[in-house]
Symmetry: C2
């Protein structure tokens, strides 16, 4: 059991041992309930057929929500990013989860991601804007530019802003962030 638990993210040998000791001391019923919850979740949660976000239903709650704006699509690399953006309560459009970023070093090319379904979706739909919201790593930049080129024939393609984080102090910002903040300056309303 300790070996298995150690494979979980953020669980080292010591934590695995502590979890194992805890589980052993529980009643049979409690351990069975935990084990069953893992199996059920694994069986029930799949990917939304439309946007590839995690979902217990064939089509996820966001895609099914008629109050969400159908004309804006936000492209993210991971389901966790959907959760992060939903927390802002600022975005009312729909999503498309790529399932990763293009990373030749790790053997991940465009065909390993949901880029083809995305292009099909945008070319068939009436999306007025696609917002690419991918973290600014080397792989993220590559993916943003690649996806952007494919979608531009069909719609307006934007990307999220890079610059100073809120509460961030100019003085403590790294040079690349500051350079991007200057480069991305906007006219004051």
């Amino acid at each position: 059991m300790i070996e298995q638990l150690q494979r979980l993210p953020g669980v080292g040998p010591k934590t695995a041992q502590r979890l194992a000791m805890y589980i052993i001391k529980r009643s049979d019923a409690e351990v069975e309930a935990l084990a069953q919850a893992l199996l059920d979740a694994k069986k029930q949660v799949g990917l939304c057929k439309v946007c590839f976000h995690l979902s217990a239903e064939p089509i996820c709650e966001i895609c099914r929500n008629p109050q969400r704006d159908n004309e804006t699509l936000c492209v993210v690399s991971d389901s966790r990013d959907v959760v992060a953006i939903e927390k802002t309560r600022e975005y009312k459009g729909k999503y498309h989860v790529l399932g990763g970023v293009i990373s030749p070093m790790d053997g991940i090319g465009p065909e390993q991601l949901t880029i083809e379904p995305l292009v099909r979706r945008v070319s068939q739909n009436q999306a007025k804007e696609v917002i690419i919201a991918i973290s600014p790593s080397v792989e993220g930049e590559t993916t943003t530019l690649y996806v952007g080129q494919l979608l531009k024939p069909f719609t307006k393609v934007t990307r999220i802003a890079f610059g100073l984080p809120m509460g961030g102090d100019l003085e403590y910002a790294d040079e690349i962030t500051l350079a991007r903040a200057l480069e991305g300056r906007r006219e004051l309303d």
Copy 2:
């Protein structure tokens, strides 16, 4: 001496004591050289008459440099921000240091800052763009909007971008930063 040293930023009682012990063990000449360096720096370094950046000369090196672009002016709150932006090596224009931000709570109004000389400078000069680069705190926002309103009759006024810092992960960005990054999105080239 310990009492005096403790007034320096980041120096607590223990560090002050350690510094004091060190200084006492130096030779007379060494301590005199240190004391003189403090006095000389304090006497020689003043504010540039044009941009209010720290300078040993009446007009600072950046203002005197004929290779810097006279048509772009970057407004910052503090001399440290000039140093931070210079490190990016991306900015070739000149600066204006406000000497703080508007903060009624601390009794700092516009008249305590170098806003009047800034307006005079912009109204008389041929600056094509003024970039306001002030950290995004409540006081920073107030100052940006106040200065922006005063300068808009004379020139184009922009502000630096706020959004995801470089290397930052979407998933770990706070909600306000993410909301600003979405709001400030730009069309992909």
